[in-house]
């Protein structure tokens, strides 16, 4: 079946939904585990301490999630959520290319390039 705008929109829509739902399921699982352990603990966030390395870097977060640590699971779900808009741009590049719409393939590639640049540049 040839690629057209409608079909591309449906695919991007489905991809977004799958990504968001998976992310939400992970965050929910981590959240339930966290609350089961800490629900009556006092929490205060009035001072910024910054998160530890285990909640800041992809490899460490994935490790925490793989060991079923509640905060690692939440953070991994958040990583997945952050990835959904980027995946959306990647899908647009591929989709426009399959539509033989080269002008918008290039437009989407430029957006992707800027995204990657700002992520790499800042870290």
């Amino acid at each position: 079946m040839a690629m057209d705008d409608r079909r591309l929109e449906t695919i991007i829509g489905n991809l977004l939904r799958a990504g968001v739902l998976t992310a939400a399921a992970l965050v929910l699982l981590g959240g339930v585990m966290y609350l089961a352990q800490h629900h009556s603990e006092r929490v205060k966030f009035n001072q910024f301490h910054g998160e530890g390395a285990e909640l800041r870097y992809v490899a460490e977060i994935a490790d925490g999630a793989a060991h079923f640590r509640s905060e690692g699971l939440i953070q991994f779900g958040l990583l997945l959520l952050i990835a959904t808009p980027i995946a959306r741009v990647v899908m647009a590049v591929v989709g426009f290319y399959l539509e033989h719409d080269y002008m918008y393939t290039v437009v989407s590639l430029i957006v992707l390039g800027i995204l990657v640049f700002s992520l790499l540049h800042a870290t």
């Binding site: 990504g19 939400a24 001072q47 952050i82 959306r88 995204l115």
Partner: protein, 278 residues
């Protein structure tokens, strides 16, 4: 406050934020940041991290519905995204060099004017069906659902829209908030795009811009899972409700809600700017 109470309060607030954000194309930051900092005494850095999470959750959560139903226009979104992302980088660079207090106040005043115009100077002449020459060459026109059938629309003044988007990106890089407002205003007023297409396309775009910043702030340790968890889950639920309502709501009502939210954003900007907190 216990962890359970904190989680529930943040969840409920985030649901309201997601609902408004998905309807207006503004993301949830307008509600999340003051709620966390003023109401719950959360440090501004954690609040910024949570706000970015909320913007992405609103954007991706709502976009799944809007893109499928054919409201948001991917071509317009992608083309303008070039301007916003470059603007955001320029803004982040400038933020280290210029004072942002005066800019925040100025931006607040611009938003007040925009809120007024959105309500009292709404375009009544209908949306043009034909694109202008450049809009045609860029194939930006499209169609969207109105009362069960699809309404065709054209796109105008692309260079002006593109410049405004660059400005929107720069402001968001400088001030960390508020780019959605300029995006909707630029599409609605300058490019003469139907209001629902403007808000949903803005909604589609803000997630992409926020994802770049979110990666950075995650690395700096601004994103705390204990705060972000209820924010994300609440915002998603709210955004889902928002997409259901958008389909049915009248444009006039939507304009009023949009104006109210950017009015609140304007006040926030002006107050924070004057108190030197931005």
């Amino acid at each position: 406050m216990t962890a359970l109470v904190f989680t529930l309060v943040v969840w409920a607030t985030s649901m309201a934020a997601g609902f408004l954000g998905a309807l207006t194309g503004l993301g949830g930051g307008v509600v999340i940041v003051p709620a966390l900092t003023l109401m719950l005494g959360v440090d501004i850095k954690y609040a910024i991290g949570a706000s970015l999470v909320s913007v992405i959750a609103t954007s991706s959560g709502a976009a799944a519905a809007y893109v499928k139903e054919g409201y948001s226009n991917i071509r317009i979104g992608m083309l303008l995204e070039i301007a916003t992302t470059i603007g955001a980088i320029v803004g982040a660079y400038l933020a280290a060099k210029v004072g942002t207090h005066a800019i925040a106040v100025l931006f607040g005043l611009v938003l007040l004017q925009a809120a007024y115009e959105t309500v009292f100077r709404a375009r009544h002449d209908g949306t043009p069906i034909e694109s202008d020459a450049l809009g045609k060459r860029l194939r930006l026109g499209g169609d969207y659902p109105v009362d069960g059938s699809r309404q065709v629309y054209g796109v105008h003044n692309v260079p002006l829209g593109f410049s405004l988007m660059f400005g929107a990106g720069t402001l968001s890089g400088l001030l960390g908030i508020g780019s959605g407002a300029v995006k909707v205003i630029a599409m609605d007023r300058a490019m003469k795009i139907p209001f629902k297409v403007s808000t949903t396309t803005s909604n589609f775009m803000i997630g992409v811009t926020a994802a770049a910043s979110a990666g950075v702030y995650l690395g700096r340790g601004y994103i705390d899972p204990r705060i972000a968890m209820p924010v994300m889950l609440g915002v998603l639920a709210g955004a889902f409700l928002g997409t259901k309502v958008l389909v049915r709501v009248r444009v006039r009502t939507l304009r009023l809600v949009f104006a109210l939210v950017i009015f609140l954003l304007a006040i926030q900007m002006i107050v924070n700017g004057l108190r030197g907190r931005i």
